[in-house]
Structure formats: structure tokens, C-alpha cells
Amino acid sequence: MPIRTVMKANEAAAWAAKLAKPKVIAAFPITPSTLVPEKISEFVANGELDAEFIKVESEHSAISACVGASAAGVRTFTATASQGLALMHEVLFIAAGMRLPIVVAVGNRSLSAPINIWNDWQDSISQRDTGWMQFYAENNQEALDLILIAFKVAEDERVLLPAMIGFDAFILTHTVEPVEIPDQEVVDEFLGEYTPKHAYLDPAKPITQGTLAFPAHYMEARYTVWEANENAKKVIDEVFEEFEKRFGRKYSKVEEYRTDDAEIVLVTMGSLAGTVKEYVDHLREKGVKVGAAKLTVYRPFPAEEVRELAKKAKVIALLEKNVTFSIGGALFQDFSRALVNQKEKPILIDFILGLGGRDVTFGNLDEVVGIAQKAIAGEEFEEVNWIGLRKEIL
């Protein structure tokens, strides 16, 4: 029987790892993710998880050790955030290029400077070109579920890509919520043993991995990462479906909320989706035609689902906790790419908010909707808006 309990997202991630039974875990402490490997080391210490736990000296070495272990042929896991993920950046490309299905839990946290330990998505968003799949959890249950889902998708022969699962710093990592821990047996059936056919260092059958590739071959190798990302779109849908059958919880790449007849759709990711859905209810009571959508999968980018969503709205407001300087947010770029050649498309407006752990309030969202309504009325509007800026201290 599944166990219903309460725990932090960090603990939920550790439980997911325990259920997935990775053979090697390599981790380095960083706020707000430290509790994930801490909890895992307890599982290992108590004999509840049979794995090698490597206490590495940096995040760079954490991911490098995972790359080595995964290439040797075992399931691997680690957790990090912020500067730690940024330090891993170089090796993330290697993991994807070598098609190693490593899974990393990310407690989404801002990047320095100035130093700040609180939530935004700049850390994982900045890894969007590495070839890794990216999932974002709205709550602690999703953190647990999406890690299991990520292993299944990552190890699929049609995919073979690493994956990171983001959950918001403190808002989720350190907040206790109800979580259902699935049955080990059901997880075992869902995930199965990891037996790689492509990457393993079998002492009896020597191979080379990561060889130098000249211009005559490099591009094709990189193209396979593109193809794998394309394949992942279908595989993710299949795995979501299987997950629902086995565990009873439904996931979709883009989850819509009260979007029918909505003029304005507020699009976001992570825990902010919870706030936004509540805000939509609040406005609906007042008769405002507003809906919400949440991206559970950010990479591969669900362009088809985004196009379907776009058909429903006059304005799509992108609420994002990240910046690409001089452009706007990453979602704004991605939505623009998905819609640019569509004959009919909604107005896209970008809202940068909640950076470095700043609360996103209903007041902030009123401002967002106000700008969207102005746009619908044909008035001038800014394409990129920083919401909740304290202009008095600028």
C-alpha cells in the first residue's frame, strides 16, 4: 500500500531516489538542496538503499562522477541548485552528448551576484541548451513523481538523455506538504532494471566513449541529441499515461486550468502555478475571463501543446522567474518561437517577477492582468515588464 505522509520536497526527492534504486549517488552540499543527499546518505547508512554514495569535493565532481558511473552502466542520481548547477554546466553537455540518463534534482535558486539563496529559475533555465530534459514540479508530490517519471523517460532507448527536475527553493524544498509514497513493488515494475545497451564499460568488451570527433562527424553526433529530444516528446506522453495507470496521478506537458473561453491565459511553471490557479478562481468569481497554464515539461519544449493553448486566448501572459538580458524571459522566447509562423496568434506579454525569492502576490498579478487588458483594448503596452520592482530604491 502506498504510504500517505507529510514531507518537504527535498525529502520527497530523496524518497524518489530511494524508490528508483540508483547504484551510485555523488553529491555535494548546497542550499537549498543539501537535505536531498543528506536523507539519501541516511537511507544508505541504514541499509535501506544499496548504493555507493560518493562524497565528492564539488558539484563539478558530483556530475563528473555521475557521468563516469552512468557510463560504466549503472543508474545514477544527484541533487544540486544555483551555483552548484552552474558549476556543473560544462559537464552537463558531456552527459547529454554521451547520452547518459542521469537524473538530477534541482532546488531552483537564484544565481549570484548579489548572493541570494532564495527561489527563482535562473539556475536551470540557464542550462536549457545543454540537451538535458527539464521538468518543473508544482508541489512536493510532483517532485517525487517527476523524478520517477524522469528516470523512465531518460532510460528509454528512444531517448537516452539526462534529465533535471526543478522544484522551487524553500517554497517547496523546505515546506512540508502531504505526499504519497508509492509502493516499491509498483515502482520496480514501472522502472525496471537499468541495463544499458549503448553506454557501459564492460571490462570484457573494451569500447571507447567520448572520442574526438572531427568536423566530418561532430554535427551528426549533436544531431542525435536533437532527435532524442524530439523523440522524448512522444515518450513523455506515453510515460505520463503509464504513470497514471499505475499510480493514479495524471500529468501532462502543459496543464491547462479554466482556459475554456479565457481571454487571458497566465502561463507559468513550478510552485507559482498554485498561486496563479488560486488567483484565476478569484478573478473568475468577479467574472474576468482568465485562465492558467503550467509547463510541467520545459525541455523538450512542448511547442505543439503551446500552439493548441494559444488558440484559446487573446493574450498569453508569461510569468517567469528568470531573465535573458535585453530579450526578456526564456518562456517569452520559447513561446515566440512556437507561435511565430502561426497565421493567427495571441498577443504575448512577458512578466519577469519573483526573482531571488520575492513573493508573487495577488497585487502583482492584478498588475499583470491590467497590462493584458490594456493590450486587448488596443492600447500600447510593454512587451517585457518587471513586476514588483521597488522603484524607490533603484
Partner: protein
Amino acid sequence: MEIPESVKKRLTLPAEEHFYAGHTACQGCGASLGLRYVLKAYGRKTIVVIPACCSTIIAGAWPYNTLDANLFHTAFETTGAVMSGIEAALKAMGYKVKGEDGVMVVGWAGDGGTADIGLQALSGFLERGHDAVYIMYDNEAYMNTGIQRSGSTPYGAWTTNTPGGKRHFLEKRHKKKVIDIVIAHEVPYAATASVAYPEDFIKKLRKAKEIPGPSFIQLFSPCPTGWRSPTDKSIEIARLAVQTAYFPLFEYENGKYRINMPSTRREPKPIEEFLKLQGRFKYMTREDVEILQRWVNHEWEKLKKLAEVFG
């Protein structure tokens, strides 16, 4: 190629080859010789981890391959960490790692990848006590990028970023003593070796395999391209490095120092003997040579003392 039994009996090195001809090393390359000896000692049940360095190229570009052993190419500073991951995975899968009939995990990194950018990962690897062997092939500069100084470049050496010039801008620091840093981790086994003394190197490789825990070997590997030396003088230069006590052969085993032959045989030759065959030292003044000689003497006396007190 079949080697007749009568010849095999006279060989002082293993006859088996797992490093094939047709590789892309420069003529007179010490590193390629070194890697060949490593595979002679360990055989094909070996996983070699190579960071970005000359050996990335030497091992062959896709789809070619020089090694008859598992080979894993990784980023410059990650050798120690990747070795750790592979060793942990092998253990988790139930393989015997190191020791008799064990699978060998070998890090094969240059001096830049070890003394500088890879030092942190090396330290982590040593400290955690993984069962693997890290070999630093020391050609005393970043050769693959085109001869830039590393922490392991000696005093007075010309490199492309210590070019001498009007301001006599040569390397002004003495060679970083990486093996001392390694020994500070209290590893079970660390040793220096030279491509000029392959029997000694193979003996040390075997010892590094037998002794549990992390082992480290610093292998002196001449680079004619970077040292501006004749390609047929590599072995002679490597021999002189030992004979002048510039690069003495020694072992550190479970807390004990032992100086090995031929470093124990006779008084060191003057450092000029080592310097004169290499174009990289031709800009050194008499004073520079004296400074280097004093350093060599000092380090040699220190080592002898260590062997005497902790022998």
C-alpha cells in the same frame, strides 16, 4: 605478432600489446610510450580515463582507436572524479576492482590536467580512497594547446607564454611538487617513474595495482615538440633527468620513502647535462642555471633525508 618463446624469455617487459601502432603521437613522444607500458602492465581488463590532453588525440579520432582497452574521454579537470564514479559503479555491479585479477581503473592525465586544473578532483579522489591508479604523465607544460607553462614547468624554461624576450621573461617558479601534495593525502602508494626506466615503471605499476586504495605515479615523459629537443634524444633526456637528480626515482609506500635505482647509484651529474640537450633551456643565463641547480640540490637532499628518517 607472435613472439617466439625463446625471445619472450629474454624480455624484461611483458610481451603483450594493447596499445597499437598507427597512433597519432609526435615522434619521440614520451606519453605514448608510457601509455603503452601501462597497458602492458595491466592488460585489456582496464578502463582508462583520459581528460582533454595530447592523449585525446593520440588515442585516435572517431572512428579510429589505438587502445585495446576501455577508454573514457572526459573534460580537462574531471579525471579524478570520473575515475571515482567508474570505480564506484564497478563495485556496485559486483566487480573486483584492483588487486589480482581485478578490473583496473586508470586515470591518465598530463601535468596541466593534474597539477593545475585537475588538482581538486585528484585531491577528492585520493582523499576518498578509491581503488584506482592515477598516472600523471609529466611533460612539464600544456603541450596539446601548443606549449604553455603549467605548474609543473621548471624554472628557466621557455614556453610560448614564458617566451624570454628582452625582459628575460622565462618561467620564474620552480616545478610544483605534485607528488608531495599527493603524499600529503597519506595515500598508500605514490611513486615517480620515467619512460627511460620501463622495468622500474612496470614494477611500480604492478605495485600500484596490488596495494589497495588510491595509487599515484608521476611519470617523466619527454616531449620533443615542446622541449625543442631532437626526437631521438627523448630517452637520453629522461635518463639524464634521473641521473642529475632533477627527477629522482622514488616510492612512498605506507608511510615509508624509498629511493630507487639508479637514483641511489652515484652522485648526481650537474644539471647542465640535462639542460643542454633541450632548446627550451637555451635562454637560461649562468645565474639561472645556478638557481635551478640549488633547487635540485635542495630537493635531492630533502628526499634523501626523508628516505633516511622514514625509510
